[in-house]
Symmetry: C2
Subunit: 219 residues, 2 copies
């Protein structure tokens, strides 16, 4: 295993390109998602080995559910399968998203409060039926907030910490609504390969680039 | 002038690297900022010619004012000089930032409501003593907000529209607190040269890359 002098504490993962990969491989768009599960575990295990403390995976968003039903069902299933498979690992698991909607898979309701699994070696957050507007709007809805409150503590995703490094697969250079508050100071690394084409070298490339960055938090 | 088939409506500008450029050219860090004024006007004029409808410039942030006083004074002055010079152009100018703080240059107070200058050909927004927390926290402070409100309309920067393309100079791949709500779906283009090294080709490179991107707004 590689060694890195300077590691991000928290890595955000945007696993994009499942549909484009499927089309490029003679499959239907919706067939891509199930090919995105095992890359996630390969990545997770390598990050455990490296000593990363927290990871957040972009599962699916409220925006995504406007897609054809066959796709929505496919990514819902891929998220449920991923989370269920994670229950056999050593993680502190939290699922964050609008669980009051019928689009939120009810199998995942037990994980909307953080649950320690196995040795709990890493905080793993999974965004499921997540929406940035839904997330931030909690700050308005909470009557206990006042002007002295820190905005960060009043949002729906307040149990997810600041992200140091975001890695996005599939070539797009945008956040697409991914945790706007936690991403404010994050370094952003893009991989042109599609997510189902994941290989460990992608992570190494991102971490090697991260070595050369500074952290100023805007100062 | 170049022609582009597909133009962003709103471009965000992060003019980073003034201090690194100054050090690299035998100057003191704080001397870099005044060299960042004329590039801004060159860029603005080219965008007017191209027909861009809105631009937002990252002036300085509340985070930035934690730097040594000689630097803070230098970037405050560069912002004031830039805005004053813009009053001779054709723009609808708005300055957004915490104007209740002594760190906000009082010469800019008249522009905290949008002002039409000349023919008003473009909306130009200037972030001055801006803070993302200050911006978003307005949504909590406003007692008229309720859960039916759109979060986007309740923040301090609500008069700044969604950004299509963010161009950042100086090689860093991060938002550094730049308008988190308006940046949620923005495409992000990085230029390794420092901001005082601006040339029109940088803009063309960004716009040529932008041709190849799609707009899905997360769908």
């Amino acid at each position: 295993m590689k060694q890195f002098k300077r590691l991000p504490r928290h890595i955000g993962i945007i696993p994009d390109g499942n549909r484009r990969w499927a089309l490029g491989n003679g499959l239907n768009k919706e067939d891509g998602y199930e090919h995105g599960i095992s890359p996630g575990f390969e990545l997770y295990r390598e990050c455990i080995e490296l000593g990363i403390k927290e990871m957040t995976f972009y599962g699916f968003t409220q925006d995504n559910t406007k897609r054809p039903a066959v796709q929505t069902k496919a990514f819902q299933k891929a998220c449920v399968d991923s989370v269920m498979q994670l229950t056999g690992q050593d993680a502190n698991l939290l699922v964050v998203g609008n669980s009051g909607s019928p689009l939120f898979p009810k199998e995942l309701l037990p994980f909307t409060k953080r649950v320690t699994l196995g040795k709990g070696l890493m905080n793993v957050n999974f965004l499921v039926n997540y929406g940035w507007d839904w997330d931030l709007r909690q700050s308005i809805k909470n009557p206990q907030n006042d002007q002295n409150d820190n905005f960060t503590t009043s949002i729906a995703s307040s149990d997810i910490s600041r992200i140091d490094l975001i890695i996005r697969w599939g070539g797009r250079r945008r956040l697409s609504g991914f945790l706007p508050i936690q991403s404010i100071y994050a370094d952003f690394y893009i991989i042109d390969d599609m997510w189902p084409e994941f290989k460990i070298q992608h992570l190494y490339d991102a971490l090697e680039w991260y070595q050369t960055q500074d952290v100023t938090l805007g100062g």
